[in-house]
Subunit: 153 residues, 2 copies
């Protein structure tokens, strides 16, 4: 089942001394099956359905660990908090509407080319990366025309 494959997966990439705990397995499983962008609170909410005693701290600690281990990608949209998704992120970009916050996702091989380029030119081990474009979606662009972009609203 899910749990087992995550256990093997996690144990295989753990450094000596690191433990495979039920909390980590639960969290990794959730993120893997989430298919998309989830933030810490959403993960916490879902995790509590399975383990009502799990703590939000544990969620953050696991996310930090998974990020360092290269298992998840941290996404920075036009918001104060962050989102996460499992890797490999199938070479896609994100476009974020600065008005409504909508996130459009699309595939492209160019991101792979960028990583190649870096590996060739720099002494830097790339474990992940993010391409995110900001702008305005079609709906918001039309509204913009009459509303004339109030800074706050």
């Amino acid at each position: 089942m899910e749990q087992d494959s995550s256990a093997a997966y996690l144990r295989a990439r753990s450094l000596p001394g690191q433990r495979v705990t039920p909390q980590r397995l639960l969290l990794l499983g959730l993120i893997r099956r989430a298919q998309g962008h989830v933030d810490a609170d959403e993960i916490y909410r879902r995790a509590r359905e399975r383990n009502p005693h799990i703590s939000l701290s544990t969620v953050y600690r696991a996310l930090r660990l998974f990020k360092k281990m290269g298992l998840v990608e941290e996404l920075h949209f036009n918001e104060e908090h962050h989102h996460y998704e499992v890797k490999p992120p199938s070479q896609h970009y994100h476009m974020v509407c600065m008005e409504c916050g909508k996130v459009i996702e699309f595939l492209s091989p160019l991101i792979g080319r960028i990583v190649e380029e870096v590996n060739r030119e720099y002494d830097f081990t790339v474990t992940g990366g993010e391409v995110s474009l900001v702008g305005y979606c079609q709906e918001c662009r039309s509204q913009e025309t009459r509303t004339e972009a109030k800074l706050d609203e």
Copy 2:
């Protein structure tokens, strides 16, 4: 001088109703001449040298405005707070070391290709974008080998 060109620049892009204030001119001038990544606090610190009464709120409000106006780019490194730089960001990427936080910057035409691609395929007005790769720099990678990545330290 600086102030004048910023004034013209700012006024030219302001929407009706928006005002060109001395605070905004000061802040935009600072960011323009900063050449690189500055965060809100750094901008605030520098701004106070010129105008000791300027408020941190004003800094944040100006940054939000400049971002919406497309004058500055907001950068999301591996940190809790954000950094800013003027646009156009001359088509460069950032590589952030997850261990020491160092940011390496490099040029490449691929980012332009991505924007072209999006303009061709989607109904989305791109006003900016960010490509940032995460990983480990050469120094941190060597240390990693003995220290074996403690999560916290």
